[in-house]
């Protein structure tokens, strides 16, 4: 490609009369189309949400719902592949709790007028196990499965805590913020339990304070 975005052509002053006419016509049309003539002077400053929801509420509800949905198939792999009783127990409780949490998120999304398909559902976001991750997990057993599973589940829980904290700080609706606060506490406890359930440590996952390790950016 050439550096310029498009081709070029030159016009001579002979084209001037036509240009003047075209310009006048353009201005008439422009005056009629001008925002001040056809629409409110001030557009909405943000995406229009059903009050009292703000853009953060909707973004968090969608992202948390998508994260939960993508983690469930991973959690379902543990019973047949892990040999750690605590890990199998935790995976089972996570699956049940996160199924319930997901339903709660969906209810609030519907209340916010966002009942349609979740835009993040089919998209690899930080914290989500990818289809390659799931494929790899399916082929593992015992300690190898536990280590890989714990790393992925850890990244998932880290991300859930991180975004729930964002909602607590920036969300608009009190009920959504309360849900986020409860989820942040619960996910932090689940993260601690996951850490205890893998006695030999988890390679590459050191529970960093603050920002979660972003698995897609490793």
């Amino acid at each position: 490609m050439t550096p310029g975005p498009s081709g070029r052509a030159r016009v001579r002053p002979a084209g001037r009369v036509r240009r003047v006419a075209a310009r006048a016509l353009a201005l008439v049309v422009a005056a009629l189309l001008a925002p001040g003539c056809s629409a409110p002077e001030d557009g909405p400053a943000t995406v229009r949400q059903e009050p009292p929801y703000n853009a953060t509420d909707v973004a968090w509800l969608r992202l948390a719902e998508a994260l939960h949905g993508r983690a469930l198939p991973m959690l379902a792999l543990a019973p047949e592949r892990s040999r750690s009783r605590p890990l199998i127990g935790l995976a089972g409780r996570l699956a049940a709790a996160h199924e319930t949490g997901r339903a709660r998120l969906r209810t609030l999304l519907a209340r916010a007028g966002q009942a349609g398909e979740n835009p993040h559902a089919q998209h690899d976001m930080p914290g989500m196990p990818t289809s390659a991750d799931l494929e790899a997990l399916r082929g593992l057993r015992g300690d190898a499965f536990d280590r890989r599973f714990a790393r992925l589940a850890g990244a998932y829980l880290d991300q859930l805590v991180l975004v729930a904290e964002g909602e607590q700080r920036s969300g608009g609706d009190a009920e959504v913020r309360r849900l986020a606060a409860g989820m942040a506490r619960r996910h932090a406890a689940e993260r601690a339990e996951l850490r205890r359930s893998v006695p030999h440590g988890i390679n590459g996952w050191d529970f960093p304070p603050g920002r979660a390790k972003l698995i897609s950016d490793q």
């Binding site: 490609m1 550096p3 975005p5 498009s6 081709g7 070029r8 052509a9 030159r10 016009v11 001579r12 002053p13 001037r16 240009r19 003047v20 075209a22 310009r23 006048a24 016509l25 353009a26 008439v28 049309v29 422009a30 005056a31 009629l32 189309l33 001008a34 925002p35 001040g36 003539c37 002077e41 557009g43 909405p44 400053a45 943000t46 995406v47 229009r48 703000n54 953060t56 909707v58 973004a59 968090w60 992202l63 835009p119 089919q122 998209h123 690899d124 976001m125 930080p126 991300q159 991180l162 975004v163 964002g166 909602e167 920036s170 969300g171 920002r211 979660a212 972003l214 897609s216 950016d217």
Partner: protein
């Protein structure tokens, strides 16, 4: 509001007077003005898709505004510094970060062209300024392959023999991998954003804007050159394969500067420089 319309109509006769001629005998007949906005910073944030949720996004490389993060508002951009030439452009532009062998690579050249092309000349002549505060996402971060669902294209700077592709291409040594992405240029005339951050804008059909999105605004063309070449299997974007390339735009041009460029460069179909004057 009505007064404003009458005022606009009142000045029309003045436009029929002879236009001042540029010093040079000819102008370049391309409706265009650019902003060159080099890399500013990198964050896993997206104030359009995940406002108020720092760390929620895949990694983004930000151009233009130096202050953009998950919490950024229009006022933050208007009061913040920029990397852009012209420096009056306080807009924020961002894309998924490119990695080579897992190491982030930032572009060497980043240009945002504002263009008239894409609609008929008589429609170009009615182009309206891009509204202040407009937020748009173009391209498809969720594309699953180099098919119809992706819009961005990849090519090589100074290697036109390499056919453009929706996925990464193999650029000869000494050339640069480049990405082109055109934003939609038809606005619904009402919303500065929408739930999917796309549907308040549309692409033109058969040289004009559809009735649902009747207002033609300048077409934003994002052109990014990365100082890399060679084997595409070494590259990935934070959002996935090359076909997931997308761009986010948060407009913070001062309205007077945007209006002047639309009036002097886009509507009369004249190629301008970053200062918004004919070249």
């Amino acid at each position: 509001m009505i007064k404003r319309c009458l005022r606009l109509l009142a000045v029309l006769p003045l436009l029929l007077l002879p236009l001042p001629q540029p010093a040079s005998a000819a102008v370049i007949r391309v409706a265009e003005f650019p902003a060159d906005c080099p890399f500013s910073h990198r964050l896993p944030d997206d104030p359009i898709v995940f406002p108020g949720l720092p760390g929620a996004s895949h990694m983004h490389s930000f151009f233009g505004s130096r202050v953009t993060n998950a919490h950024t508002t229009l006022a933050d951009l208007q009061n913040g510094a920029t990397t852009c030439n012209p420096s009056v452009d306080r807009s924020s532009y961002w894309v998924p970060t490119l990695y080579r062998d897992g190491v982030a690579v930032e572009p060497a050249i980043v240009t945002f062209y504002y263009l008239g092309e894409g609609v008929r000349d008589d429609v170009i002549a009615t182009t309206q300024p891009t509204p202040l505060g407009l937020r748009v996402v173009a391209g498809n971060a969720k594309a699953t392959g180099p098919d119809g669902s992706s819009i961005a294209r990849w090519s090589c700077l100074h290697a036109g023999q390499v056919a453009p592709s929706k996925d990464f291409v193999t650029c000869p040594a000494g050339t640069m991998l480049e990405s082109y992405l055109d934003f939609p240029q038809c606005w619904n005339g009402r919303d500065l954003d929408s739930a999917d951050h796309k549907s308040h804008m549309a692409y033109p059909v058969a040289g004009q804007c559809p009735s649902t999105h009747p207002v033609a605004v300048p077409k934003l063309r994002q052109v990014i050159r990365y100082p890399v070449s060679g084997d595409p299997s070494r590259f990935r974007l934070s959002s996935g394969g090359g076909f997931t390339m997308h761009g986010d735009f948060f407009n913070a041009w001062p309205p007077a500067e945007m209006e002047r460029r639309v009036r002097d460069c886009i509507r009369p179909i004249v190629k301008c420089g970053p200062d918004g004057r004919p070249l």
